[in-house]
Symmetry: C2
DNA sequence: TCCATATATCCAAAATGACGGATATACGTG
DNA sequence: CACGTATATCCGTCATTTTGGATATATGGA
């Protein structure tokens, strides 16, 4: 993931409807959600949602797979991880001490055995 | 940091000149860089840089402090951490198992005692 | 006060992005 | 093949963003 890829991904997420769409897809992992149902969930027209999904897909953040008449979209969590890692490399590169609090925060919120 | 704040921050970083500016500021922590020198570094006109810095500042990602005639800008790493955490909460919320690989990757790249 | 330096603001032009109606394409069913 | 459903593409409109010239504001020095 180079800088251009990262900017494409950030641009994709820097819009309310797309952010909501992506979050909905993350919550529905690993089942996925058909495009039409996403449009209803976010309450935007079908063609607008299709355009947003195309932008998210171009950024690598979602993938659509045809299942009969529907196209089921799924979030690509590995890609999200790449984006987050890219951002944090700006922070950690060469000076790991800066990110210790971040690691701690993430560990406490995201490790299976953690409470908070 | 709510969704609107996150989108403001993502929008601020989703532009090449601003991304380069922010990375330059991170690399110059904690000294900071005057606005004019930033413009020369990124090779854009002074007023354009000023506008970009205003956007980054509005997003909370940088802060400028007047020092004599210059205004020294610094990256706000805590804010960057908040943005990254926001993104990752989409991933980790309610299902921590998804983020275990991410934690591992971050730990290996960002923990003081780590090699890679 | 007058001048030079450093930065911000004003303004307008060009580019980009979001939106949604209308229509095309893909798929399954009868 | 004809029809209904699901999604994508086309296209015009409107709003936002980016950019940079000109100018205003702030600071320090003579």
């Amino acid at each position: 993931m180079d800088t251009t890829d990262a900017i494409t991904a950030l641009t994709a997420l820097a819009q309310m409807s797309r952010m909501e769409t992506f979050r909905a897809l993350v919550q529905h992992e690993p089942k996925g959600v058909p495009a039409g149902e996403l449009a209803r969930l976010i309450a935007i027209p079908q063609n607008t949602m299709s355009a947003h999904l195309a932008i998210l897909a171009r950024a690598g953040l979602v993938r659509g797979e045809r299942r009969s008449r529907s196209i089921i979209y799924r979030a690509d969590l590995a890609r999200l991880r790449e984006v987050a890692t890219f951002l944090l490399k700006d922070c950690c590169g060469g000076r790991s001490e800066i990110c210790a609090p971040l690691i701690a925060e993430l560990t406490s919120c995201c490790t299976p055995g953690a409470s908070k």
